[in-house]
């Protein structure tokens, strides 16, 4: 949903954030559709709720298989809010101490949770 001029009630940083959020969703939904269609036209079979390990996901992305295209969409979707945090941290650096420190803490927590659970 691109912003229409009469709806502009937000600041430039809010506009940038909303573009990133919506852009990330659109790209991943497009990849999901491409991946599922590739599955449909290929003769590959899959188990419905087959789960993939991180290694399998990375390998499938590297091979650009239908599963890989879908997995890439999932990773882009997961990356979208992370990019949003990074943008906030960069934008507010030196302008607002709270909004510079808080995103760094949030990001550290996310990375720590991911790394420690591997």
């Amino acid at each position: 949903m691109p912003p229409s001029p009469d709806e502009q009630k937000s600041s430039p940083v809010e506009n940038a954030l909303q573009m990133v959020l919506y852009g990330g969703v659109i790209i991943s939904i497009a990849l999901f559709l491409i991946g599922l269609l590739s599955f449909a036209v290929s003769s590959q079979t899959f188990v419905l709720s087959q789960t993939e390990t991180l290694d399998e996901i990375l390998h499938s992305i590297a091979s650009l298989s239908p599963m890989g295209i879908i997995s890439l969409g999932i990773l882009i979707l997961i990356a979208t809010p992370i990019v949003r945090i990074l943008m906030t941290a960069v934008y507010f650096a030196n302008r607002d101490r709270l909004l510079t420190v808080v995103p760094v803490i949030v990001l550290s927590l996310i990375v720590a949770g991911f790394v420690l659970s591997m």
Binding site: M1, L21, T51, E52, I57, G73, I74, R84
Partner: protein, 281 residues
């Protein structure tokens, strides 16, 4: 063939969840997880992982809209994210130690809480008008304002009870990581009733936070090998399409009757969850 049929059922269900979610202002995990577990027989841990990824779609889409309208309190949202993310990671790690049955029991209780919340929903309209002398001197660095089109004025509000809001956010994040819901059902009332945030800003700010909260736990599920790409992509597409349709329909959650019906549906789902947890289904 069975696989294709199941995926079609999931797609149609997700579209409906997307529509209902945009009507009720929720992410939809509260419906998606039971449909996957009770309806399609998918393990609740995989269903929660799927829901968490799908929730990123709904929250990012609606947060994007709310940001454009200026309803999100970015400063407050980012601050409370520290608490939701901490809770989410602990919740997602706990999942690996819990049996599916115990997670189903937790889900059942959350459903009953949600049913009561929807049925008895209490909202407080905060906000200081432009001429109000106290509006000129914000007391907290988290105070916010937005333009209310319906009232035709700028609504300013003071944010209070930050520690209590932080605690509620931690609980919301914890539930999110544990059972795959967004946690808006905890955060929105906490921000509205305790912290003095008007309902529009509370809903928008909660949505803004859900994406980051869901990512924190989704990454733990990812590293534990609980993500099922195909099911996840179908649910995400369905919910996305449903959310777009829902916002086009623009049906506002009107009257107590519709809310009471949803509350009843949630109680029925809760009972089914308990039955399943007890091994009777």
């Amino acid at each position: 063939m069975v696989v294709v049929e199941t995926l079609l059922i999931l797609l149609v269900a997700s579209v409906f969840i997307g529509i209902i979610g945009s009507m009720l202002g929720i992410g939809g995990g509260i419906f998606l997880v039971p449909i996957m577990t009770l309806g399609l027989g998918i393990d609740i841990k995989v269903a929660a992982a799927t829901s968490l990824v799908a929730i990123i779609v709904t929250s990012s889409t609606s947060a994007s809209k709310f940001l454009r309208q200026g309803f999100v309190n970015v400063r407050l949202g980012m601050f409370l994210e520290m608490f939701t993310v901490s809770g989410a990671i602990i919740g997602a790690v706990l999942v690996t130690y819990l049996t599916p049955q115990s997670i189903e029991v937790v889900f059942g209780f959350v459903l009953i809480y949600t049913a009561f919340y929807m049925w008895l929903r209490k909202e407080v309209e905060h906000g200081l008008s432009e001429g109000d002398p106290s509006a000129a001197s914000p007391a907290s660095r988290f105070d916010g304002s937005f333009h209310d089109d319906h009232a035709g004025k700028t609504c300013r509000y003071a944010v209070k009870n930050i520690p209590r809001g932080g605690a509620a956010s931690f609980v919301a994040g914890n539930l999110s990581g544990l059972i795959g819901v967004g946690g808006g059902i905890v955060k929105v009332p906490a921000m509205n009733l305790w912290m003095g945030v008007p309902i529009k800003a509370a809903t928008a700010t909660s949505n803004f936070m859900i994406g980051v909260t869901a990512v924190a736990s989704a990454l733990v599920y990812l590293s534990n090998g609980l993500i099922a790409p195909v099911v996840t992509s179908v649910a995400a597409i369905g919910i996305f399409a449903g959310a777009i349709l829902g916002s086009r329909i623009m049906v506002k959650m009107a009257g107590g009757t519709l809310r009471a019906v949803f509350a009843l549906v949630l109680v029925v789902i809760a009972v089914l969850m308990f039955v399943r947890a007890g091994g009777l289904m």
